[in-house]
Symmetry: C2
Subunit: 332 residues, 2 copies
């Protein structure tokens, strides 16, 4: 493998390396004739710019990192689409990382991103301790929280999860439920604790005791976790209704209950969260709480790149969307 660099191109085109660099980065500064000569040399030699060298010289790359809790969750895939569209439009790249809800994997990913000298990081933190992120920010890497509200000195884009939990549970109560269960991942995940807070608030408004909400915590917020939760529900005795912290959990629960002969919604009402595409196609179409997912990614990225492009004149914003109840068969 012969390494063809900028100077081989220069030699072939009969110009200096600097001119080749100009053709690549500020074509308007070089005479048309020279430019086309250089471009031809590039084609003939199959030259590809060395990104590491550019990045080294520039001090930072034209990439941003996106760290999500679970790439297997369609919610985050949709967020990633929003991110990717904006990032591509601004001629940057995305490095997608999966933390799998684990703080250790998260910090490993952040280290890699720091080594790559990304311009900024979009992240849904796995734990409430965001100190390492703020350290990153102090080292000059812009940070925006996605689906995680922040305070004051950092940008964030989120959806009101307390409100979401509240409308979900209010809906279940209006359907006649009195004894409820809340299925979620670890409480350390903010989405889980907030949605639970909303649920409790709905109970309170309805004059029901907080004890009316049974907590079922599973280690991972996916369909397997949901199935485990479903088995717990079966052995512990069924409530009137189940509120799941996301749709994957709800689908898992639905599956186990159905196999055990429990009818949804007649025996147990069920509602999920995120309104992923598959929910409407489920065995029993799933009620859910819809979030502006694509927008979340899109706006977070715009905030991030704006901050990168003008770090001084940038005012941190905390944006909060409102979720929306989607009622289907599983709860009516």
């Amino acid at each position: 493998m012969v390494t063809v660099g900028i100077k081989e191109v220069a030699q072939r085109a009969g110009v200096s390396p600097g001119t080749v660099s100009n053709v690549l980065n500020r074509p308007e500064r070089v005479a048309a004739a020279t430019r086309s000569r250089v471009e031809q040399a590039i084609r003939e030699l199959g030259f590809v710019r060395n990104g590491s060298a550019s990045t080294l010289r520039a001090g930072q790359s034209r990439a941003v990192g996106l760290v999500v809790l679970d790439v297997g969750n369609p919610f985050f895939v949709e967020v990633a689409r929003g991110v990717d569209d904006v990032v591509s439009a601004r001629d940057h790249a995305v490095i997608l990382c999966n933390s799998g809800e684990s703080p250790e994997k998260e910090s490993r990913n952040l280290r890699v991103l720091a080594e790559q000298r990304v311009r900024g990081v979009l992240i849904t933190p796995a734990a409430d301790d965001t100190s390492s992120l703020l350290r990153l920010r102090d080292r000059g890497v812009a940070v925006v929280f996605v689906d995680h509200p922040a305070s004051g000195d950092v940008c964030s884009v989120a959806v009101d999860d307390v409100a979401g939990g509240e409308i979900a549970v209010r809906h279940l109560i209006e359907g006649g439920a009195r004894r409820l269960a809340f299925v979620s991942g670890p409480r350390a995940i903010r989405q889980c604790s907030d949605r639970r807070r909303g649920a409790l608030r709905a109970l309170e408004s309805a004059g029901l005791p907080a004890g009316g909400l049974a907590d079922i915590v599973v280690p991972e917020m996916n369909a397997h976790g949901g199935q485990a939760a479903g088995r717990t529900l079966l052995s512990d005795g069924l409530p009137d209704a189940v509120f799941c912290a996301n749709d994957l959990l709800a689908l898992g629960v639905l599956r186990v209950l159905s196999q055990a002969g429990v009818r949804v919604p007649q025996d147990v009402a069920l509602i999920g969260y995120d309104d992923i595409e598959f929910s409407s196609a489920a065995a029993v179409p799933l009620s859910s709480v819809r979030q502006p997912t694509y927008q979340l990614g899109k706006i977070a990225t715009e905030l991030l790149l704006d901050e990168c492009d003008d770090p001084e004149g940038h005012a941190h914003q905390q944006i909060m969307f409102q979720p929306e109840l989607v009622v289907r068969e599983s709860s009516s």
Copy 2:
């Protein structure tokens, strides 16, 4: 932002930059006392190695590219898990790219990967023209085809799609179907044409005319495409059975048919492909053709990294798995 590099660390630890580099890359060559002094300096200064400089010096990065047809498809997400596990275990990183079945986006992605000087590329090609990939390979970037059989001079890991199409359609015929429809993405996608070939072969074995298979081609192999196909089926007149080139298409078809009052499988039998997790939880649990998805990613990555580590002593392999029929309600 002060840039703290290897020499600031060296100065603080009272050693030369070369020694710091050795601590980072070959810790065994440096005396324990010196090493811990350097490590402490690293911690105190919050030093993070500059990946671009390493890559530049080394000539290639410790990353591989993974280019898939659709990150929204759980099939590829599962492949990506297999890739990620192996890549992480070998202390590398993966850059995930989405070609969206478009050759243009694919080549854009490949250019970025080439600029990043990745060690190798795992790719499910969007079109049959793989010449640009072979050019990449000649430039020293290892290439492994994923879910795409190759010939001779390149590694590949695939599943026998002709056999998959055949067992799917044989199953439908055994269930009594005579007039069939095949819903797929563009014929240029190899998976589509191969599965169709298998379907035709099954028809032939059963002594049925090739005209018994109606083709419905949609631009994208996702649930939206499936819904479009479903509407076409409704307006063109229903066949006895529908074979979809993947589960997302099948879920879309199922949805439209159900809404129109068509009963599955009584009025129309339906089978998908990939056996994604959601298929078993669908309104009518979906029959499908299962592939060793995680293995696909895992083995492809091992092949790739082996080739990178020993380019000379590497013999290209073409691995072909056999798919497996999974019968559920939608076809029985």
